[in-house]
Amino acid sequence: MMKKSLLVLLPAAALALLVWNLYSSRLPDSWTDQQLASIQSLSLYNLPPLAPDPSNAVADDETAAEFGQLLYFDTRLSSNNTVSCANCHKPELMFTDGLALAVGMAEGPRHTPSLLGLSYSPWFYWDGRKDSQWSQALAPLEAGVEHATDRLSISRLIAEDATYSDYYEKVFRAFPDIESMSLPQSASPLGNQAAQENWASMNTEEQRVISRIFSNVGKALAAYQRKILPGPARFDQYARQLEDSNSTQQGDLLSNSEIAGLALFIDQAQCISCHNGPLFTNQDFHNTGVLAVSGQLPSMGRYDGIRIARDDPFNCLGEFSDASPSQCMELRFARDENDLVGAQKTPTLRNIDLTSPYMHGGQLNTLLEVMVHYNDAPVSMLNHNEAKPLGLRSSQLEQLRDFLLTLTAPLATEDKWLQSPASLKP
């Protein structure tokens, strides 16, 4: 008798579970005022103009951006002439590389983040170890696994290349006469042992001259990267139409599944908590229980990042910054407490479909895997996971994924900035 009832109950339970998972909640006919406000807060049409970067006097200088574009695509900014910024931040992949972990001279420890709209962020790197885009641009150049070059070699390249010297003088005034300074061939306080010894052999004034040229290279690279901006996607057209009507159906702009995903995004799933604003990111740091990168210790995240940023000679308060201390609000008032252990930066979701894999180590391959991760909200290896399990059905996770696909669009950037400049082509 017991066996018989089990035979009936088990398939019934399995069927019920299947139906529950596949059942999609019915869409409301119209959005509430609060939902409409949330939707408008995400619309790209409500993105304010890019604010100036007080630490970079040439941030919005067109000539500096042209100089930066040349530098960005130039493989001579590496020790073996094979690595440029564009190797990992490829324009055709929304300025990512499609790899789990970045590969420059060797494989690095982190996943390449997209550069889309990144100029809006006050912090850079997954752990926020840099507080400006120009300062960020300097670090990969001297990192052994990335460009593996050094600031003196880059200074020499600019001195020897007539186009670069011209650009430098147009943007930053006179280029120092480093030829007459009898300097070593290469030197950096961060490079390999030889480069560090060479750096130590230079006097303080020589070091400052070279670090100044180096910081200006970063400022030109940042001026270029400020051109990389997302363009309006289907979601934004939908949001714009909602200005005149609150009906969830707006022609065939979004499918029912995408609209249901949007509803989940702003309400039940609370993705909007961190992925907020027109760039779908609060540019801040959160521990969301993502597994450590295979073969690595769990990352300390922002806890270490803020300490590195404070000690960085190229930060907003440093001598190479163009800002006054009162303009360095983010750095001066940054937190560094224990709850930032394991916290990584919230990435933009604009064009997210084109920038797989995901997370700081590229640990998750597909958007659906990311949805499952947030639905489960696993225990964090370090500190605690700020996210809570969502209890969503698999059909709802697919709806969320479908909504994210509505954020894909061509960039707002002019085509001329999306390729290697003609003068660099062989």
Binding site: S38, P122, I272, S273, C274, N276, G277, N282, Q283, D284, F285, H286, M329, E330, R332, F333, A334, R335, D336, E337, D339, H384, E386
Partner: protein
């Protein structure tokens, strides 16, 4: 301005100087009236059990997420400004088990009982909880404010 205007032979200059001078007098005599006209209503406020009133005047009003800004915090008790206190603020989002994204710091007492709190930025919509700690002359008091963004 008064001196220049008084000794000017130009009658028009004299009159405009006197006019500005009388405006300055008004400001001196009625500083609070002038401030009330300049100020908005308190963005946030709380009265503690001991009767201390804490009012926040935000540079960004209404409050918004993701924008760095400053607050002026006015402290008073029994109608008198609470001057010379050490004021700190902590807080976070109780629903998400995390703190504030920045460490806001009082950098100046602008006038008796009015403190400049710099470095405020909220990074998520939802319920926030702030706790102000006020210390003066071995007395310490806390004032908590809950609000939603």
């Amino acid at each position: 301005m008064h001196t220049i205007a008084s000794y000017s032979s130009d009658r028009r200059k004299l009159l405009s100087g006197l006019f500005i001078n009388s405006l300055l007098c008004l400001l001196l005599v009625f500083p609070n009236t002038a401030k009330a006209a300049e100020d908005q209503q308190a963005t946030l406020f709380v009265t503690t059990a001991s009767g201390m009133i804490l009012e926040v005047f935000s540079e960004l009003d209404p409050l918004q997420i993701n924008i760095m800004h400053s607050w002026r915090v006015r402290l008073s008790k029994s109608g008198s400004p609470l001057s010379g206190a050490s004021v700190t603020m902590s807080g976070g989002m109780p629903d998400h088990d995390h703190g504030l994204p920045t460490r806001a710091v009082v950098t100046e007492e602008l006038e008796p009982g009015l403190y400049l709190l710099e470095g405020i930025r909220f990074h998520m919509p939802g319920r926030w909880q702030l706790v102000f700690s006020i210390e003066k002359d071995d007395n310490s008091e806390q004032a908590a404010i809950d609000f939603s963004l």
